[in-house]
Each structure stands twice: as structure tokens, then as C-alpha cells.
């Protein structure tokens, strides 16, 4: 397993390079333009000069290599400098600059992390923590009232999109009841009891919307996989041997049902990083999802390229983790 992991990590490097190239080519091909957002009163020749100032008049390959250099050499060196305090060279390295804000992309990512982790990360955690027991119980008591209600809620929760549930919750809880704010305050710092309460209050609605969605999604896979295993011969054998029902369910069946669940969860973790675009928009959480969508709409290629690339790294990483977990959960799965 260790050899497998090492080999996969080694192969991840060329994979990621190919991915980064494909993303860059795709962004270059897409009909978007950093000056597209500007008012029409700004004449075309000025737009042309702005594009030239951004370096867009240079050939595709040069721009790609420059991004590679900035991202893989300049940025890590900068981080290293900040951590160690050492100085490498003259310190004047061109960082990956966003075209819209003209500021380093990595700084923006760092700035956006807290709210994304709070809202999207927390709702994912809640989603997983709720989905597994709900899925297990639904499967164990298949077609009971609990199962039927669970199915109903999760299907509605999945099929009604967040752009609607978000607005509905705002109208009910913010406009009529005035319980929760409809706008997320990213400047809020949790320092004492009252600011913690304010933070919980402003997180409540977006986290609820996203948790409903995540629970619906994951619990269906847990339930289906549990059902598969509940009818297997080994369960009957275990029961016949007098193993406690709880042990049968939680140790034998759950463990064997986890493979699709692990896949779904591993696929979901990177998406925490990419943020929940719609929910962040509705509640103005302004996390990474909003950063990405604004950049895509504004044709801010360095920003989109960097964000999607970090995203790609996480995907490759978590899919590798899932593969390793398969081997631990089911020793019969071998890759070598």
C-alpha cells in the first residue's frame, strides 16, 4: 500500500501539469475578456491598451510558462520567505496577479478562506455527520415511517435548488421574523460571547441550506449501500452466530458499505474549497465560490487558473486518499 501511495504521488505531478495546461488552454479559448465589464463609454483603443498592459497581447505559450513560473517558483519562495524570514534574491518576484483587482491571487485566497471554511466546511461536516446515521437507520428500517419521511425530505431537499431555498429562508427568517441577518458580515471577528452569537446567527441560514443539500445527497448513497450489504450471506451468518445486532450493523455492515460512501465524501471535500457558488451569492458570504464566479465572469484568467489549479490538486489528493481508504476498508482490494 505504501509503495502504491508513493507511486501515485509521483504520477500526480505530470497529471497535474497536464491538467494545468488543459485548464489554461480552455480559459484562453473561452470567449471572455477582462475589459468586458467596463462601461461602454470606454473606447476600444483604450481597451486594447488595457489588454496590452495585462500582458494579453503575448503568445499563449509564453503566458502559460509565465504563470507556471509565478505559481511554482515565485509564490512558494514568497511563502518560504514569510515563514523563515530569509531573503532569496532581491525579493522582487512577480507574483500571480489578478487582473481585476491587480493584487496577488494567493493573498485573496487566504483572505477568503475563513468564511468559506466556516460556512461551506461546517455544512459539509454536518452533512456527513447527519447523513451516515440517517442512511444507516433508513436502510435498517427499510420502508418504515422514518425511512419514508427521510426519503421524502432528502428528495425534496435535493431537487429544490439552493437559489430557491436560500431566498425562501431569507424571506421567512430575515424579512418577516427578523431572526437572522440576510447579509453575511466578513469583517466580524469572534472575540467574545456576543460576537460568537452574531457569528452563529449569520451562519445559521447558509449553513442550513447547504447542510440540507449535503445530507440529502450523501444519505442516499449510505442507505443504498447498506441495503446491499444487509442481505448478504455474511450478515445472516453473523446473526446466526449470535453476534449482537448493533455489532452486526455498525461493524460488519457499515464497514462493508462504506466504499461508495467514502467515494462520495472524498469527491465532496475539494468542493468545499471551490465554495458553494450560489449559496455564497444569495447570502453574500463572499468566500472562494464568489471569488471564482466573479473572476470567471470578469475574464480574470490568472485568478481562475490559480483557483481551479488548487482545486485540481485537492481533487487528485482526495481521490488518492479514497483509494488508500478502499484498501483499508476492504483488504481484498489490492492495487499492486
Amino acid at each position: 500500500m505504501f509503495k502504491f501511495t508513493l507511486r501515485r504521488l509521483f504520477f500526480a505531478v505530470p497529471t497535474l501539469l497536464v491538467i494545468s495546461f488543459v485548464i489554461f488552454a480552455l480559459l484562453d479559448l473561452a470567449p471572455n475578456n477582462p475589459t468586458g465589464d467596463l462601461p461602454l463609454t470606454i473606447p476600444p483603443e483604450v481597451r486594447e491598451q488595457i489588454r496590452a498592459a495585462l500582458g494579453l497581447d503575448q503568445p499563449f505559450l509564453i503566458r502559460y510558462l509565465r504563470w507556471l513560473h509565478q505559481f511554482f517558483i515565485n509564490e512558494p519562495l514568497n511563502i518560504l520567505e514569510q515563514i523563515t524570514g530569509w531573503q532569496f534574491g532581491d525579493g522582487h518576484r512577480l507574483r500571480v496577479l489578478s487582473w481585476a483587482t491587480r493584487s496577488p491571487v494567493v493573498d485573496l485566497v487566504v483572505q477568503r478562506m475563513p468564511q468559506t471554511l466556516w460556512v461551506v466546511g461546517l455544512s459539509y461536516l454536518f452533512g456527513v455527520l447527519l447523513a451516515i446515521p440517517i442512511g444507516v437507520l433508513s436502510a435498517y428500517k427499510q420502508y418504515s415511517i422514518f425511512d419514508q419521511i427521510g426519503t421524502f425530505i432528502s428528495m425534496v431537499g435535493y431537487s429544490v435548488p439552493t437559489f430557491f431555498t436560500g431566498v425562501l429562508l431569507i424571506v421567512v427568517f430575515s424579512s418577516y421574523l427578523h431572526w437572522f441577518p440576510s447579509v453575511y458580515d466578513t469583517n466580524l471577528r469572534v472575540t467574545d460571547w456576543s460576537s460568537l452569537m452574531a457569528q452563529i446567527k449569520q451562519m445559521f441560514l447558509p449553513v442550513m441550506v447547504l447542510t440540507l443539500y449535503n445530507v440529502s445527497h450523501i444519505s442516499r448513497f449510505v442507505r443504498a449501500s447498506m441495503l446491499d450489504n444487509l442481505h448478504q450471506d455474511y450478515v445472516r451468518t453473523a446473526r446466526a452466530k449470535g453476534v449482537k445486532e448493533k455489532t452486526v450493523l455498525l461493524v460488519h455492515v457499515l464497514r462493508n458499505s462504506l466504499i461508495p460512501v467514502v467515494t462520495v465524501i472524498a469527491l465532496g471535500v475539494p468542493t468545499i474549497f471551490s465554495g458553494a457558488i450560489i449559496t455564497e451569492q444569495v447570502f453574500r458570504v463572499n468566500g472562494l465560490g464568489q471569488l471564482l464566479i466573479v473572476a470567471v465572469q470578469g475574464g480574470d484568467i490568472p485568478m481562475v487558473q490559480t483557483l481551479t489549479f488548487i482545486f485540481a490538486v485537492l481533487i487528485v489528493l482526495f481521490n488518492l486518499i479514497a483509494d488508500v481508504l478502499y484498501g483499508i476498508l476492504d483488504p481484498r482490494i489490492r492495487y499492486d
Partner: protein, 306 residues
């Protein structure tokens, strides 16, 4: 797929009658599945036969009758331009169901194909999973913009504006949503292919594709079924996101997703504008979910025994 029960290890205890009949009997016994079938057929009937009874043109504008609540003339009310909502929901259903089901089938086919192939054949596992990683990592919006830019006009000239866009949307949704299914199916296949009966089939000299069809696929069916039901919902919603971005159907083609999206702003004025399309999507997904449950149970060789 219907010859699944013929697997030697799962010979049923009941006398070997027609398998179709057995499966149907099993299906009928599944109350939820039967209800799902009825609801689904009802939705189809309303959407396809309904316009013959409520024969209002969904694109007819009557600006004087805008933002009305439900009435005899307009059972679902009207929108802010005076479109009849019932007619819009029925017209939207035809497109949404077609898009949802076709795109889901395409994604399912691609996902299962990639998942089974890479799970079963170790040699292909690496390349196929890296391809999956690539697709997972691609930023969706620019990808859509590029696909639309490259293919819209060609498809439009070959198939006409409507069919062209339909093909394009189904293709776009299918091609960008198969990866989850592929990963999940692969994980299942990795586990299943080490089980005794697969080993037994292999050592008995069974052809690879027959092993996959008869032994592997039925055992990963449940994950595929969940992907399918969730897939319909996300395809319907994705379509609305596409038209919101100006990449979907022209604005005079209503779809459930878009009716819901447009209606969300009017939540406080005409709640029925969001109620009906929202309900329609939920009911469709719910009924397909129960249908899927029943089909899986009916096909499951182990369930047949009890």
C-alpha cells in the same frame, strides 16, 4: 439485464417461470415503486396530454392579466408578463423531462462505462481515473462557453434551432456530470471483483464482458440507481443554470428549472409561480427514486429468494 436471475449461484426456489413475469410480480409487490410508477405516469400524462385540454399557448402574452393568483381561467395564475402558468409548467415539463432523463442516461452510461472499465481492468484504471480527475477539475463555466461557441452554430444548421440546442444541452450536461458515477462505480467494482463468485466465473473460463454484465453490474446496481435519481434532479436544475447564463434554451422556451428561477424573485407576489414547478421537479425525482428502488429490488437476485 433481465437474465440476471439466471446466475447459477442464485437459482430461485420458486419454479422457474418466465423471468419477466417474476420481475414484474416482484415489482408489483413493492408498494412504493408502484406508487412511484403511477405518479410518474401521471406527470407524463399531464405534461403531454394536458395541453390538449388546457389549450392555452404558453407563450401568449396578456400584459393586462399579469401577476394574477389562481383562477378558473388560469388555474396556476399568471406571471409578470401575463403568461398562463399552467400552460408554462406543462410546456416546461416536456423539455425538462426530456432533458433530465436523456442527460441522466448519457451521464449514467458514460459514468458506468468508465467506472466498470477502470475498476475491472487494472491496466486502464490509471489513465481513466486521471481523465476523471481532469474532468472534475475543469472549470465548468468556461468549458460550457467554449463548447457552445464551437458547436452551437453547426448543430443549429444541421438540426434546426430547437433540436440543435436540445442536443447541445443534453451533451453538455451529460459530459460534465458523469464523473461522480464513474468514481463510485469503480469503487464498488474494485470490491466486487474480488468476491468468490466472480473468481469462480473467471476460473470457469467465462468471457470478460459476460462476467461484467452478469456478475459485476448487478452488484453495483444500487449505487447506479441512486446516481440516476439524483442525476435527473441535477440535470433539470443544471439546465436552468445554463439558461440563466444564456447558454440554454431561448427565453421563450419555458423549463421547470427556469420557471423556478424566475419565480423566486416573485415569491412574495405570486407564490404559485414557484410552488408548481418546484413541486413538479420534486415529484418527478421522488417518483423516479421509488421506481428505481423497486427496479433494483426486483432485479436483485438475493431479494428474489425471500
Amino acid at each position: 439485464m433481465t437474465d440476471v436471475a439466471a446466475i447459477p449461484s442464485t437459482v430461485s426456489t420458486t419454479p422457474p417461470r418466465s423471468l419477466m413475469a417474476a420481475t414484474w410480480r416482484q415489482f408489483r409487490a413493492h408498494r412504493g415503486g408502484f406508487a412511484g410508477l403511477i405518479v410518474f405516469v401521471a406527470i407524463l400524462l399531464i405534461v403531454f396530454i394536458g395541453p390538449l385540454i388546457h389549450s392555452v399557448d404558453p407563450n401568449k402574452i396578456d400584459i393586462r392579466a399579469k401577476n394574477q393568483g389562481p383562477s378558473l381561467l388560469h388555474p396556476f395564475g399568471t406571471d409578470n408578463l401575463g403568461h398562463d402558468m399552467l400552460a408554462q409548467v406543462m410546456a416546461g415539463g416536456r423539455i425538462s423531462l426530456a432533458v433530465g432523463i436523456t442527460a441522466m442516461l448519457l451521464a449514467l452510461f458514460l459514468g458506468t462505462l468508465v467506472g466498470v472499465t477502470s475498476g475491472y481492468f487494472r491496466r486502464l484504471d490509471g489513465p481513466l481515473m486521471r481523465l476523471t480527475d481532469l474532468f472534475l477539475a475543469l472549470p465548468l463555466l468556461p468549458l460550457l462557453l467554449v463548447i457552445i461557441m464551437l458547436f452551437r452554430d453547426t448543430l443549429r444548421s444541421y438540426f434546426g434551432p430547437e433540436t440543435g440546442i436540445f442536443i447541445l444541452i443534453v451533451f453538455v450536461i451529460g459530459v460534465t456530470s458523469w464523473m461522480h458515477t464513474a468514481r463510485i462505480v469503480r469503487g464498488d467494482v474494485l470490491a466486487v471483483k474480488r468476491l468468490e463468485f466472480v473468481m469462480a466465473a473467471k476460473s470457469s473460463g467465462m468471457r470478460e464482458y459476460r462476467i461484467i454484465l452478469k456478475h459485476i453490474l448487478p452488484n453495483v446496481m444500487s449505487s447506479i440507481m441512486v446516481s440516476a435519481t439524483l442525476g435527473i434532479a441535477s440535470a433539470i436544475i443544471t439546465e436552468s443554470a445554463l439558461s440563466f447564463l444564456g447558454l440554454g434554451f431561448p427565453s421563450d422556451f419555458p423549463t421547470w428549472g427556469r420557471l423556478l428561477f424566475d419565480g423566486a424573485s416573485f415569491l412574495q407576489i405570486t407564490p404559485s409561480r414557484v410552488l408548481w414547478p418546484g413541486l413538479a421537479i420534486s415529484l418527478t425525482v421522488l417518483s423516479v427514486n421509488y421506481l428505481g428502488d423497486a427496479v433494483r429490488d426486483a432485479l436483485d437476485p438475493r431479494m428474489l429468494k425471500s
